[in-house]
Each structure stands twice: as structure tokens, then as C-alpha cells.
């Protein structure tokens, strides 16, 4: 270990730079730029490289005065479409707004790239351009979900359909760093998603990963297994799973929240009495809606690459995209890549089943 320092092209982060794909997602260029304007207000030191059609970007600058003073425009008319397969997208790695944003991270011209475009394409291009960090076999997609208490970080949300025990352990290390950085926790509680909490439950991969994490010397508390009904409880800070189960769980949370709020809307519409009840309760119900709003939790990150790539949800609004940019900002400032490398090196140095690697 220690070689990771070579692969971190961007170092001391006093003036964070984000490469922004202004063409991705449903929102469109004006909304992506409006989000960047909000982020510029929140983080005055933040600077942008805006990748997309220059005339349209320049035209939009009249509505984004702060952004216009803190952004470089990098022109391209090429866009990765939502329907593009990863293989098609890879052919436009150097010419599309998404691909060029990733290249900026690779070249050290930006500390992170943010895109609301095609997830599969972003993943494929990012992996191809940036490669995984030393000690990481596969990157993982991580994001925050709302709970009754604080948000919980969940990974992998769909980058890897199948994972072995080593992958899961690496995800745990990365997830703990993510939680320390984004949630500000010193010693996050980490658990593996499983179909029961007993040691013998689940797959071999989960049991082996649990055995490794139980003895790991890492800045986290390993809490063993949690079941799906605990995702919303907020009793752990990081939930680790393979990308298949993680994606199922993430979307099931989204779908169930929509189901309950949909039923709730129907319930309030049912009589004039309930409509009045709604009017009286409106403020609190809006706060509830805000707590569950995916835009409030927008910004998934591909962890484990030699560079930061943040995915904004395709259907996010201006506020949501601004939050995704905020996640990128926090991860840059928190120097997540270096923290992951350090924790991995510590984990490897102390794991019982592998000889310690020589110090760099």
C-alpha cells in the first residue's frame, strides 16, 4: 500500500473544482446550471468546469451571476443519451459532456465530476477512465436514505450484481469513510444487509464478510447483520450489501414511500372533514414530505475509483441537483479517496488471514 498517493492526481483541496455535465438528466441545462448557481452561493470557494454546448451555457449565465464568475466553459455538443448502452457511451468518452467531465477528474483538472445522466454509461466510463483504487476490486454506488433518526448510507446500490466477501468488506471500509465524511460521524455503525441477524444466516459471502469485519481494526463499529425492516430505523449508519439486493432495497424504499404517501393523499381527499384536516395539518405534512423527498438525499457517489464521480438522480429537480453538487463538495473537502486508502491499508495490515503488506 501507499502507492495510492501516486494515483491521486489532485491534492490539497482549498479551491475545490467540480466538472459538471450540464446535459444529463431529465431537468435539462437551465436547471442543472441553476443548481450550480445555488451550490456556488452555498460554497463560495467552489469552482466549476461546465461541459456542454457553449452558446446555451453562456446564454444561461445571465441567470447565474455567481456561477458565471466561477466557471470555465468546455464546449461540446455531444451527449450521452439515457437509452445509450454503456458500450455506446464508451465510444464518446472523450467527446461527450459526461465523458469530458470524467476526463477532467482523470487529468487533475477537477476534483470530482457530477452528472445526472445515464447511470450505466457513467459507471462504465468512470471505471474505464479512472480504474479502481489500489486494494479495491470493484467500485460501489453509495447514497444516503432517510430514516426515523439520521440518514443511513447504503452501498452498493447497483454497480455490482454479484459480490464476494472481499468486495463486501471493501464496501464496508468505503461506506464507513463516506459516513464519516458526509454524515460527520467519527465511528459509524456498520452492518451487512441480510435475511436474519443470526451468524449463520444468509450466503457464504455474507458470513465470510462478517467474520472479517468482526476482527477488523477500523474506525467503525461493526454491528453484524441487519434485515430490510431496519433500513428505515436509523439504528446503524452504514448498510453494506451487494448491488442486486441494494438496488432492490433502495427502489423498494422509494416505491413503498410513494405507496404510503399516495394512500395518504387518497385518505385526505375522501371527505370534506378530512380535507379540512389536511388543511390544518398541511405544514407538518409538508415537513414529512420534505424528510422523505429523494431530492433532499440526492447525490450517489461511485466509491473506490481513482477520482470522485457523483451521480445525481435522473429525475432530480434544481434543489436535488444542488444537493448532489453539495455531496461532491463534501467528499472533495473530506478527501475521501485518501481516507479510504488509509483505512484499507490499516485493515490489510491487521487482518489475520493475509500477511501484512510492506509499508510504502
Amino acid at each position: 500500500m501507499g502507492a495510492h498517493t501516486d494515483s491521486m492526481t489532485v491534492k490539497p483541496v482549498s479551491n475545490p473544482v467540480i466538472a459538471l455535465d450540464v446535459m444529463g438528466g431529465d431537468a435539462g441545462l437551465p436547471d442543472v446550471m441553476a443548481a450550480a448557481e445555488i451550490a456556488s452561493e452555498r460554497y463560495p470557494a467552489l469552482r466549476f468546469r461546465l461541459h456542454g454546448p457553449e452558446p446555451r451555457i453562456r446564454a444561461e449565465f445571465v441567470r447565474c451571476p455567481r456561477l458565471s464568475g466561477s466557471a470555465i466553459v468546455v464546449h461540446t455538443d455531444e451527449v450521452v443519451l439515457g437509452t445509450d448502452k454503456p458500450s455506446q457511451a464508451l465510444r464518446r468518452s472523450r467527446t461527450s459532456s459526461m465523458g469530458m467531465a470524467i476526463q477532467c477528474v482523470k487529468n487533475g483538472d477537477a476534483h470530482a465530476a457530477v452528472s445526472a445522466g445515464n447511470t450505466g454509461a457513467l459507471m462504465a466510463m468512470a471505471l474505464f477512465a479512472l480504474r479502481t483504487m489500489p486494494g479495491i476490486d470493484r467500485p460501489a454506488l453509495a447514497a444516503l436514505l432517510p430514516t426515523l433518526k439520521n440518514d443511513v448510507a447504503v452501498l452498493d446500490l447497483g454497480a455490482n450484481t454479484e459480490c464476494d466477501a472481499e468486495n463486501l468488506v471493501q464496501f464496508a471500509v468505503m461506506g464507513a469513510v463516506f459516513a464519516r465524511t458526509v454524515l460527520g460521524l467519527e465511528n459509524p455503525r456498520v452492518a451487512l444487509l441480510n435475511i436474519g441477524v443470526e451468524e449463520l444466516k444468509g450466503t457464504d459471502e455474507l458470513r465470510d464478510a462478517a467474520a472479517l469485519l468482526r476482527t477488523a481494526q477500523l474506525p467503525m463499529r461493526f454491528e453484524g447483520f441487519v434485515e430490510g425492516d431496519k433500513i428505515g430505523q436509523g439504528n446503524v449508519d452504514v448498510i453494506v450489501t451487494d448491488g442486486f439486493s441494494g438496488n432492490i432495497a433502495l427502489k423498494t424504499v422509494e416505491g413503498t414511500a410513494k405507496l404510503v404517501t399516495g394512500l395518504l393523499a387518497n385518505a385526505f381527499r375522501s371527505t370534506w372533514l378530512t380535507q379540512l384536516g389536511y388543511l390544518l395539518s398541511r405544514g407538518a405534512l409538508r415537513a414529512l414530505g420534505a424528510h422523505l423527498d429523494p431530492n433532499a438525499h440526492n447525490g450517489a457517489v461511485f466509491l473506490g475509483l481513482n477520482g470522485l464521480i457523483v451521480k445525481s438522480h435522473g429525475s432530480a429537480n434544481v434543489r436535488g441537483i444542488a444537493n448532489a453538487i453539495g455531496v461532491a463538495h463534501d467528499l472533495i473537502i473530506g478527501n475521501v479517496g485518501e481516507r479510504i486508502a488509509t483505512d484499507l491499508a490499516n485493515f490489510r495490515a491487521h487482518r489475520p488471514d493475509v500477511p501484512a503488506a510492506p509499508a510504502a
Copy 2:
């Protein structure tokens, strides 16, 4: 095929008999018997075999007049505990209330067994005693979940951690029969749970299962893949998945519903205005609660065994247990085992990749 008729020990069902483990679950014997009393009122032809401590059962009969006239008591003091491992439970297959209820199904003394006890133990004992039906490699645990429209049947909910394509196809056949029987649908819409809807998404097992189901000649409409956020939409009637993802999804639905209703309760408590709003909306909100109440959907069934075994949720209340007994009743009346055998035989006769089996 056709051999299945030999293994169905119980046939024409005009007088359904349910073997009831009165000792399982959190509710305790009085509640389980109160549930059976409710079921006796709903289904006058239904008869019971009550497995548990005879003196306590007889004492409870004063509160269960209908049940006392339609039940046989089979004494045992032995109970499978919630903490018992399947291997421990198997040793009490012939002496515990749960094991004896299953034996009744095996011997043809009951058409179905219902227990609210230890799921792993019930599964192990049922599989050991009843074995899988011809043509079924593994049984699956199926249950209904609420949606914005009609309920959706989901399987497997945790009987099998890993499944191959053949398992998934068999689950689809069984799930469609379950939906036809319990939801009263002639031609249920069946989908595979996946992390995307495109044909290339997910695991090999899912893609192979989809290929088989696309050409299958079965009384169902195969709708391809659905993602987790569609579970609550009610646009399909049966969702098929391996037991790991199914269990994660089921519990994530439960947990998220609790999260949202918990946040809702907090929202209503926040001010006197919202408390008044709650009072006005109370009726509709209770209806919403009832729609989502797990007790309203209680009664998971192990499909694919030579006999019907229904699992009542350990935390179900009297009404919930009565609903689980109702599921058992409907499955008996619907002759689910025979329907599954017929559909499997048809599927095999028409599948392109396997030579047709000779008719029995």
C-alpha cells in the same frame, strides 16, 4: 408427470380440515383459539385439529363455542421455541404441536397446517415430512403485499437464499396458481424482480428464467422484469424472486411503511393545529392504517410441498391469525396442489428445451 395425483393424499374438499398449532407465535394459545373461532364463524364447514396442551385448550373452549363443536383436540405439551434451530426442531417432528400439525397433513388427517411458530423450524419440518411435489425442486414462501390497487403475491420470501432459473420458473408457476386462487384472477400478470427492466439486466438466472417464461404456455401473462419501486404499484399480480431478495424486499416494505407512518404520527403531534387536523382526518387515516396493516395480509404459504403449510406472522394478532387460517381455507378449497401439478405438466409438455414427458 401425472404421478402427482399419487402424492396428493387428500382429495375432494367439501369439509376442509385444518391442523392448527395453537402454541406458535407471540400471541399465545387464547389468541390463536380466538382466531380459530372467528374462522369457524366465517367458514362454517371448516373443521380443526388443535395441537397443544389439552387442558388449556379445553379451558379456552368456553370462549370459543363454535370452535369447540368443530374441533378435535390432540394433546401435546411439547413446543418448538422461537429460538430453536431447525435441526433441534426436527427432533420433535412427531411430538411438538408444530410437528404434529404437519404430520396430520402428511397422514391425510388435515388438508393444511397453520402455525405462527418459528419459520425456519416450520420450513424444515414441513420439507422433511411432506417433500416437494414432483416437478418442484424447492418450495417457496409466498404471501400477499398491499399496493395502490389490488394486493400482489410475492415469492420466494425467504425459503431459498439462492435460486437458479428452473427454481424461479417453478416459483412463477406456483405464484400464478396462488394468485388465481387467493386473488381470484383468471390470468394473473407475473413478473420477475430485477434491478432494471431491460432484457440484459440482472443475473444469468433471471435472464434464463425470463427466456423460459416468455414462451411458456401457462394461464398467466408474463410481464418481464419489474424493479423494487413497482412492488407497491399494483401493476402486476405476482412478483417472483429468489428468497434472499424477496426477504429483503418484504422487510424493506414493512420497514418503510413503519418509517412513513412513524414520521406521520410525529407530524400530527407537532402542534395543536395538526392535532386537530388529525382528529378530523382520523377515520380516513385509520382506513389507511388498515390497508397497510400486516394483519390484513397475514398468512404466508409454503408452496410446492405435498401438502399445504401456512405460516402466520409471529407478531400477528387475533384478526391476523384468523386471516392466515382464511388463506389456508381458500387454498384448500382452491385445490392449489393439484392446480400447480397441472400447470407444471402443461409447462413441461410445451417447453422448447426439454423433450415432452410421456403422459401418465
